[in-house]
Symmetry: C2
Subunit: 196 residues, 2 copies
DNA sequence: GACGGCGAGTAGACACTGTCTACGCCACCC
DNA sequence: GGGTGGCGTAGACAGTGTCTACTCGCCGTC
């Protein structure tokens, strides 16, 4: 089963994933994706009534990969006997790693203007993952008031960190490209100093 | 001196600020801005060789307003005898408030793909403000290792929080639209529990 | 005071985009 | 074997950002 044989729908999404990986969000023109999939510019319309729905499908692929990446990192950390704190460490590093490795996809996933309508639906897929986050955080803070709030605080920090890094704002602020000390400070602030 | 008399350069930027306020980033087409300023679509080219440079000028206006907002909030808090911790509280609230009050401008300011080239130059204007942040943080954490890192950690958290709120992801995660408890958790995590 | 030059804005062309519509083609089924 | 329906093509359309004449009015100079 070659690329040519697969459903055009899947081929279009695959072409989009490849384009966003190599050329960023701006490479995701409707006609560009169609060209890359080897069809005419009108063909996508049969499967995605509008350009944005095609972009949403590509972003969904991204959310799936992110979820897999995080779940994999967590499973690895848990498997090697890591406690809640070290699992959160692994999850945080995986999140930042994904953003660094796939900057175009990461940007697309959070460009709500491109995904309007399906954006909330999309992010909903990451809710289960968020719940495991909450569980781990409440394990680290057994006497905390509201684990969900504490988790959202940590989550938003990781997200902001990922954004600032991909924009190169970090070097501007801290003078260094290295996120490691910053990530450590973030984790220490939200989870308390790590046992080392 | 009416709008018609002012420099076209300033009028174009003013038109852009108004458009982004009312219609978001997508309303900032080159021709749209020119129409709104009452000139033909070729006129902006005399002052801004490219569309992006016009957008960068509009974003610069935004950075200026943000800086003013933050400086004003800090001056107010310092004037009423606030300590470092309460000044940081005020700054954080002002940052989130700006993002909430000017979502379109806030988005434009951090759309590095639209401002490529001048983006780093732009954000450089907020460095002085960041330094006062650093001073306040080191006042709160007199025995901290690296105030700049701690400040960047807090800053990135505020930024992530602002983004998630404007995207409506917060309600998805915490079930509530209210950022107040989340903001409190963030400040407590980075600065220690507030004295109340 | 007439004239040349020049800066500022106009208007049209160009390639490109996303959307819409009419059309052809091929496989499948009664 | 002839319809039929789904799939993809191709062209039109309005809109975009950029580029290139061109016009017009103002200024300084001879």
């Amino acid at each position: 089963m070659t690329d040519q044989d697969r459903d055009l729908r899947a081929r279009l999404v695959a072409a989009g994933v490849e384009l966003v990986t190599t050329g960023g969000v701006q490479a995701l023109g409707l006609r560009e994706i169609a060209r890359h999939a080897g069809v005419s510019h009108g063909a996508p319309r049969r499967y995605f009534p509008t350009h944005r729905e095609l972009l949403a499908a590509i972003a969904q692929q991204g959310f799936g990969r992110l979820t897999d990446t995080l779940a994999g990192a967590d499973a690895l950390a848990a498997g090697t006997g890591g406690d809640a704190r070290s699992r959160l460490d692994a999850l945080a590093r995986a999140y930042l790693g994904f953003a660094a490795a796939n900057p175009g996809m990461f940007e697309l996933m959070f460009r709500h203007d491109l995904l309007e309508g399906s954006g909330a639906e999309l992010r909903r897929t990451s809710v289960p993952l968020f719940l495991t986050f909450v569980g781990l955080v409440s394990e680290v803070h057994p006497d905390g008031d509201d684990p969900a709030t504490a988790t959202a605080a940590l989550w938003s920090n990781l997200h902001g960190l990922a954004q600032l890094r991909t924009w190169g704002s970090l070097r501007l602020i801290t003078g260094s490209e290295d996120v490691e000390p910053l990530l450590r400070a973030v984790l220490d602030a939200h989870l308390g100093p790590a046992a080392r």
